[in-house]
Symmetry: C3
Subunit: 328 residues, 3 copies
């Protein structure tokens, strides 16, 4: 979480009436709005094995997936969310190498905007790109952040909130422990922001010291490299992978075996947690590195549920931003 | 056809009620079931030049095309089949290089399964992957094999059966000759299995000795390297390309000119066959290698018809597995 | 514009009843037909910020985008046009490296044709490919040229005509100036053809001498390397980029800075033009090379409008060719 500060992203997201215009970060979204989004997402869930919910709410709308970083899971999740709301979907996997100057991403956006795209879903390896785009598009368009450098991944944060709320109820009574590469994780940052807003009882961030966050960015969290202390009595354990692709100098970063020995989440270690604690992972998962393979497939694991909730949360976001497009 | 045995794939495909749950191989599917699928496929055919048949039978269903081997023709055929039944389609062209361990394909499947995919269409260069996935997915999901190493390509087998039935009627009275790289062809294997089940009169497999099949795998077929003997009086000639990408050591494998001279199917050689014999090729076709170019475009050729039947057969398969999903 | 002559493409496009069967080039299409297409395109435009027009005119039809040259903007424009008419869309990005022989593109077309594709949208780096395909497909199929070497880009030409007509009215009274790499631009060629048919008052083509067109290909145009003379009193200025990827020997071709100094379109230079002159660019745009960045974003610029019109024009073309498919 050592990305440069983007003080404005949080203030760009709402319409004057308080509706969701863009989703750039969970910062600046209050408990009421987050709860309403989670409630809406619940309406898009159907029992496993039954057909998914499908509506025509977004018929005639066009959603563009503009991924400047490769992705299978998040792109597929947004694509299915849009299609299940009846929207037209345009997939554009753009190689960053074709983007030399700062302006050229804007020219791509200007071109697509002129094709009457309603919502842009954007993933980019550079911090600040989604907010930069918000500052330059036509006001009737919505921008959704689908992963921004190590800064923010708000839809992932929301699906994690939904999963925790489904399994555990009230946030105030909960202890949540995130274990892994906190320093470079946009997931950790968004989850921490969301949990803080929802008034989580206690948030513990566990990592090797070389992967610890800047304490200033997570003022209310307990930061530790003591896994036992992090796990003891906790209700929720979220394992994160090491974001090796974002670390310039891997010196001092533990290898896979060393990491698993010291920070891997195993059934044995889960005995330290509450008896009914759940295990989460945002994926993609490195079995036997961040997490014991059997634990990932055990009843304690809610990893598949996170993925299912991901589609529902993205449907709720798409519904919310297009709803507030009508009122602008 | 030297792939390792997969004794179980044939037994994984049917529901307890005898409906089609998965399609992994034509082995284990009886004549009644195959005929029913071909009959269903006939209902999805419209005259050339008229619009294709389009229904909403699969509205709200999601089909994922998961191709770990590149493909244009089969992927397009499945995509059109799914869209013409009103399904949502998710295309995922996954580079095999991103798949290092055996589990990771399962984690991809687990993720997509949690997004409420109903049917996975899978092409993979490794033998056994579709059956392996069947053994691990939720029971409400269906797996369709869209090409598995040199082992099986059941939808291609079915479209060939449909084409032969349309042109020639009863299988019992027919002689069918397959010419080419029988050893490495998943098409040859699936066609041979289908024809055997349908009770074909005689099946002849013609190839250079270096490309002959293991006789144990095709017990009822005549195996020969004598093209004249293979063609004499036959009703159906199917030409196959040499699968050079699957042959580790190309020593002893004929080059293009030598192959054409000795095994290429030409108008001249077709005079050995029955006067009304048809010529087939699964594509992609190497003109003037497996087949004389003019012959491929002549009235004797049913190559385009195979492609048209391919979409119809895949629609029938998608309809059959989603129908039996309802009854499970 | 030094491509080899293709004397027949212009004569392949119409049905016996005078309907549009294929769109290969603007040559051979008369003023009445072009005007009708532009009128139809107008019906597919909605005010910026409102949802795009969406119909079911092409429900059950299948459009295949077959791009042998990479493209984001034109492919997206055709995809949206087809989807907004309710068609099924098949995207095929085919690497030219997989196409060694002349025939193999035809075999790809034959295969897709047998899957009951109604319209092929084709972009190719070789001159003559769209007409070659027209000569070989079934007569019920339509071929649309989405960019052909340096020869033709007729939908771009049409969207430019539409934009000019919207902003300026009658073509007879207008002076239009195209500035840039005229020699290698399929856009310049198609625009020049369209403007000539529409009876434009005066057409000026301005470029460095090394990038000037063959005068025989544009007999009614004024060809000059004098930018001031080209801009003086003109009503429309269209800037083009240098097609470096199509120039074998870059010796004598100006670099970016030199080009901007001598041929870049700036606000200052626009003072030479009519007071209400508009600025156009087909994109992708190199800011501060062909065009001053601020000018591209100024009220004089109609670049975004060109893009919007592009979708509408492609909808009109798709509607026209499928309409005339019914009457054949």
């Amino acid at each position: 979480m050592n990305a440069k500060n983007l003080p404005d992203a949080a203030n760009l997201q709402l319409t004057p009436q308080g509706g969701l215009h863009h989703l750039l970060t969970l910062r600046g979204l209050d408990r009421h709005l987050l709860s309403k989004l989670l409630d809406q997402a619940e309406t898009y869930l159907s029992p496993m094995g039954e057909p998914p919910i499908r509506t025509n709410l977004l018929a005639g709308r066009t959603i563009a997936n503009l991924f400047f970083e490769p992705s299978t899971r998040t792109r597929a999740s947004f694509e299915l969310a849009a299609k299940r709301l009846g929207a037209d979907v345009l997939n554009l996997d753009v190689n960053t190498s074709s983007r030399k100057k700062g302006e050229s991403i804007l020219d791509t956006i200007y071109t697509l905007q002129a094709m009457q795209i309603d919502v842009f879903v954007i993933r980019d390896a550079s911090a600040g790109i989604p907010a930069y785009i918000v500052g330059n598009v036509e006001p009737h368009i919505s921008i959704l952040n689908a992963g921004e450098a190590d800064v923010s991944h708000p839809t992932q944060g929301l699906l994690d909130l939904l999963t925790i709320r489904q399994c555990k109820g009230a946030f105030e009574d909960l202890t949540v422990t995130i274990v892994g590469d906190i320093a470079h994780s946009r997931v950790a940052r968004s989850v921490a922001e969301g949990l803080t807003t929802m008034g989580v009882g206690e948030l513990r961030l566990v990592s090797p010291r070389s992967l610890a966050p800047d304490p200033a960015t997570v003022p209310r969290a307990i930061i530790t490299d003591d896994l036992e202390r992090g796990l003891r009595g906790t209700d929720v354990v979220m394992a994160l992978r090491i974001q090796r692709e974002r670390i310039a100098d891997l010196q001092g970063i533990p290898g896979a075996d060393e990491y698993y020995a010291n920070f891997g989440i195993s059934s044995e270690r889960m005995k330290l947690a509450a008896a009914d604690a759940i295990v989460m992972h945002p994926g993609p998962m490195n079995r036997e590195v961040e997490i014991e393979s059997g634990l990932a497939d055990s009843p304690q694991s809610v990893i598949a549920r996170q993925v299912t909730n991901g589609v529902a949360v993205r449907m709720a976001i798409l519904a919310a931003v297009t709803e507030s497009q009508k009122c602008r």
